[in-house]
Assembly symmetry: C2
Homo-oligomer: 158 residues x 2
DNA sequence: CTTAACGTTTACGTATACGTGAAGGTGCGC
DNA sequence: GCGCACCTTCACGTATACGTAAACGTTAAG
């Protein structure tokens, strides 16, 4: 039985502007992220054009989320994503080794990273929830003042 | 000659370094925030020292939370807090007017701002939760691969 | 009154995260 | 092969968010 090689149709790759448009990034940002070692395109064309696959786009989407939604610095994102080189090696190694032991190591490593990412995001969420609670408390105090005023009180500060 | 420990401020006001230490900020940051119009100290000493009251400290704590925990830019925080001048006017006006109608207006305005802050924070939380969900999904796929490998499978990518 | 610690303003320096050309090569429809 | 949009690598410019130092005034303890 022959293993089917991954279908590498040329159209499955995207060029930098296509990726940028899809994600709402600039090409400059994507190249800058690459410069910082946050990702590297799956391939290059003969003429050295960067070519991105679906996993690259996913990763960029994740990076953008960490930046825009979570507000992490690129340095923090770099820590969160950890060793892009390992990922690139993994992507290649996993496909080219049939050895279950090697594959297991790669998967276990990925799991550890993913778990850490989830922990950090949840931590951020709980800190945000604390801020919401603080805002709610302020809201409650204000409503009490308002109620006092509407009841003919002086709304005096305490 | 042992250096004197930080002397306790006799009044209810705190000086900039005391506030900075308490909040884990630098004096430079606090002055910079003031420069951007994010806050202004409740008072100044005769010698022009900035003097902060409890509400100033609360506000600074909130600003720090928005920056460190939520990852907002100072420009966004400025929008969120909205018109510091209005707050200063409010603080004075509220104390110096006995008119319940005026006080009511001030309280209602504050409530509107607080509600908007809560909405924005909750929106950020839900976007973070979406990211957690994405990470969880990836974790689930990885665990499936791991289970396959541990069951003697090839752990083939799908 | 002295003095050490702390504060003030002003101003230039710096890291991050890109923007914006410049100068030139690539991909592709015609 | 031509033209044009897109790409490449430098390389310098810029906004944000402060750091840092200078020159000088203030505060409170002794």
């Amino acid at each position: 039985m022959t293993l089917e090689p991954p279908a590498i149709s040329p159209s499955s790759f995207l060029r930098i502007q296509e990726v940028a448009s899809e994600l709402g990034l600039t090409t400059r940002s994507i190249r800058y992220y690459e410069e910082l070692g946050l990702l590297s395109p799956a391939a290059r064309s003969d003429g050295a054009y960067r070519l991105y696959d679906a996993s690259d786009v996913d990763r960029l989407r994740f990076i953008k989320g960490l930046r825009d939604d979570a507000g992490f610095s690129l340095a923090e994102i770099s820590q969160l994503l950890e060793d892009e080189a390992a990922r690139v090696r993994g992507r290649e190694a996993y496909s080219h080794t049939g050895d279950p032991a090697e594959r297991r190591t790669i998967v276990v490593d990925s799991l550890a990273r993913v778990d850490r990412q989830a922990r950090i995001l949840r931590d951020k969420i709980s800190r945000l929830e604390a801020m919401v609670a603080a805002v709610e408390a302020r809201r409650t105090r204000l409503r009490a003042r308002l109620a006092d005023l509407d009841a003919g009180g002086s709304g005096e500060l305490r």
